[in-house]
Symmetry: C2
Subunit: 221 residues, 2 copies
């Protein structure tokens, strides 16, 4: 109950593995983890053995890794903190949505259940972070929205932007410059041969590349 404390590094591995599990089918590979946490594969092998020892994940040599219940719950706690802090930074400290990730990477490792709960209340128990990602509740439950990637939306459908897939600074600032935000209404006018899409954004015609269309989450109106 309650008192499991992981090191900053352990938390980063657990979070990375959690995110990777949602991207690949089976177990998560050593190389994938090493990409995500920016260490060498041999370091990953070291660390997954430590994490397996702590029952945070199941590790089979050469076969990869998957989180246990305990590991998933630890991941959710970190992700909850990350997204709450990002929300705080944007809602209360007036940061832009492209500025908050790195700071939240630090804040997510602060250990205090009381702090997280009070922060949550202070923010009005938000359901989504500034990038449209859902914020787990105190029990680690995620409410998932049936969002779709913009590039999968057929012609003439009207949707609203609800999030971004990869929230890199460059991409977020691109959206800012075009006044595309969470909540922005988008009508799909048509698709071009190169995957780019012709849209009506804020009632003005606008085209986006395949890459941009593939990074925007939208929801039917």
């Amino acid at each position: 109950m309650g008192g499991l404390i992981l090191s900053l590094v352990e938390e980063n591995y657990i979070k990375a593995i959690y995110h990777l599990e949602n991207e690949v089918k089976g177990d998560v590979s050593t190389n994938a983890i090493s990409d995500e946490v920016k260490t060498k594969p041999s370091s990953v092998t070291d660390m997954v053995q430590v994490l397996a020892e702590k029952d945070l994940l199941i590790y089979k040599k050469y076969k990869g890794v998957h989180l246990t219940k305990k590991g998933k719950s630890a991941a959710m706690k970190v992700i909850r903190k990350h997204r709450l802090w990002e929300t705080f930074l944007v809602e209360k400290l007036n940061f832009q949505w492209d500025e908050v990730h790195d700071i939240a990477e630090q804040l997510e490792h602060i250990h205090s259940d009381a702090l997280v709960d009070r922060l949550d209340d202070f923010l009005g128990n938000p359901e989504y972070d500034p990038h449209g990602d859902p914020i787990p509740d105190a029990e680690g439950n995620l409410k998932s929205r049936n969002k779709k990637v913009l590039s999968h939306i057929p012609e003439n459908e009207v949707v609203i932007c609800v999030g971004v897939k990869e929230s890199g600074s460059d991409f977020l600032r691109y959206l800012d410059k075009r006044n595309i935000n969470i909540g922005t209404e988008i009508k799909v006018l048509g698709k071009e041969f190169d995957g780019s899409m012709d849209l009506l954004v804020n009632s003005k015609p606008f085209s986006v590349s395949e890459q941009v269309a593939g990074n925007l989450y939208v929801q039917p109106i």
Copy 2:
């Protein structure tokens, strides 16, 4: 400019040494530091050599240590963060003043100048933290108040409580229970043979031990 990054442990040593310099006359001793940071003296010897190498302090074997300008400035940054976060926790998240220190011990190590500045603004640029300690400004300047320890106040003088010397939980909760807070008006009625003092607190007679009187900072009205 700006980009000096110290490890969490280094920051704790620098902060400890800064606080000790304000308590003792000459250089700060190895043993004093080891008490403050809760490591063994031999570990302190290791670390002060590292910090001396980084020009954060001057170390003379067997003679102790004192911070350089660079070291003092690093200390002020950490203290500024600590006290701003404590203020945030009390003012915005409704923590009690005895609950915030340990959380601030973690938050003070978050590295982001933008975050600190915005937090400062969000809090309305407070001058004092919940324990009455002054908050350094962004340049590291401390405005010091001419506060006195309650036990040094002569009979019949009326003062207000402006802070506490040692802000341990037990002491703070003792004050809470007696409705003594920052801003509370105190009249000194007399002193007893054992160092205890008879007071008028919130217009009601109240006696405090020598220890309590020696831990309360007050200011003439």
